[in-house]
Amino acid sequence: MEINDIYNKLKKAFDDGIGEVKTDVPVSPFIFADRSKINAIALFLRDEESLQFDNLSCLSGVDYDKDNLAVVYHLVSYALKHSLVVKCLIPKSDPKIQTVSDVWAAADWHEREAFDLVGMTFEGHPDLRRILLPDDWEGHPLRKDFKVPEFYNGMKVPY
């Protein structure tokens, strides 16, 4: 199914839970979705007969622009051999988004990674801990405003 057909289907089912679709981009076309409806949207994408996005191939956290973080979902359907990119913007003032780890189990560790490095909270995630950085690390280093600490546990960090 092509991106515009998918978009119309989603728009019909979720109305203002779905933002605009961007096709004039140098990367794969993508659809904006509402962060507070993303769990239901994900479930729909997976279970709807004509979509069947059975595989979450990647979930990334992004420091999107001055005011927003984002989560990007790369979806693939093995059954129907089409793919889709969904983005959710998350205001930095309130960095929260629904989890999709109950829809695609692959999201579990991906969400932990996004939380660890970019610092959005996934509400409903069963075990939201840091996954790469040490537990006592402060801050989320892929934020553009992250400052490298002078010391970590007594070890000098900058060169």
Binding site: L133, P134, N153, M155, V157, Y159
Partner: protein, 169 residues
């Protein structure tokens, strides 16, 4: 006798018989440098090169270097790759658990000074010598097996010149 060649010319052998005379220093150094057991421990891309050095073509075993899976058994750690801050705490702990005399060979730019991550690696330790003392540095990204072997031979030289009278390691 192969041992005699290795112990160098300060060793004397009785003309008939299997008795040699040497100093305690020499004997200790010889046994240490001929069985530098290595920590079963690899870090990043350099570890691949270390494994290649261990494998049959370069054969670390002929220097008496074999990997051991416990810090209680080992004499050297090859720090073979990128040391993250998280890993550095573990390495420090492993180092502290090793019985002396113990030696560290820092392999590759990463463990020497942070390597490609020297500027933007917020999570990378810029040189393992910030945490534990290093005996030999091997430059390269990654060093070829020949370079690693040369580093190990340098370490053997260092051990050969140790003396009980002087505290080293």
């Amino acid at each position: 006798m192969g041992i005699l060649n290795k112990l160098d010319n300060s060793v004397e052998q009785f003309e008939s018989g299997n008795i040699i005379i040497t100093s305690m220093d020499k004997l200790l150094n010889w046994s240490r440098l001929s069985s530098m057991w290595q920590m079963f421990f690899g870090l990043a891309c350099c570890a691949i090169e270390m494994m290649a050095t261990s494998a049959s073509h370069y054969d670390l075993d002929r220097f008496g270097i074999i990997p051991r899976p416990s810090p209680r058994h080992v004499d050297i750690i090859l720090i073979s790759g990128t040391v993250t801050l998280k890993m550095a705490t573990r390495i420090k702990r492993l180092y502290d658990e090793m019985p002396g005399p113990k030696y560290i060979l820092s392999m590759g730019s990463c463990s020497n000074c942070g390597g490609p991550y020297w500027e933007h690696g917020y999570h990378v330790l810029k040189g393992i010598d910030r945490v534990i003392p290093v005996d030999v540095y091997v430059p390269g990204c990654p060093p070829r097996p020949e370079a690693l072997l040369e580093g190990l031979i340098k370490l053997q030289e260092k051990i050969r010149n140790q003396s009980l009278a002087k505290h080293t390691a």
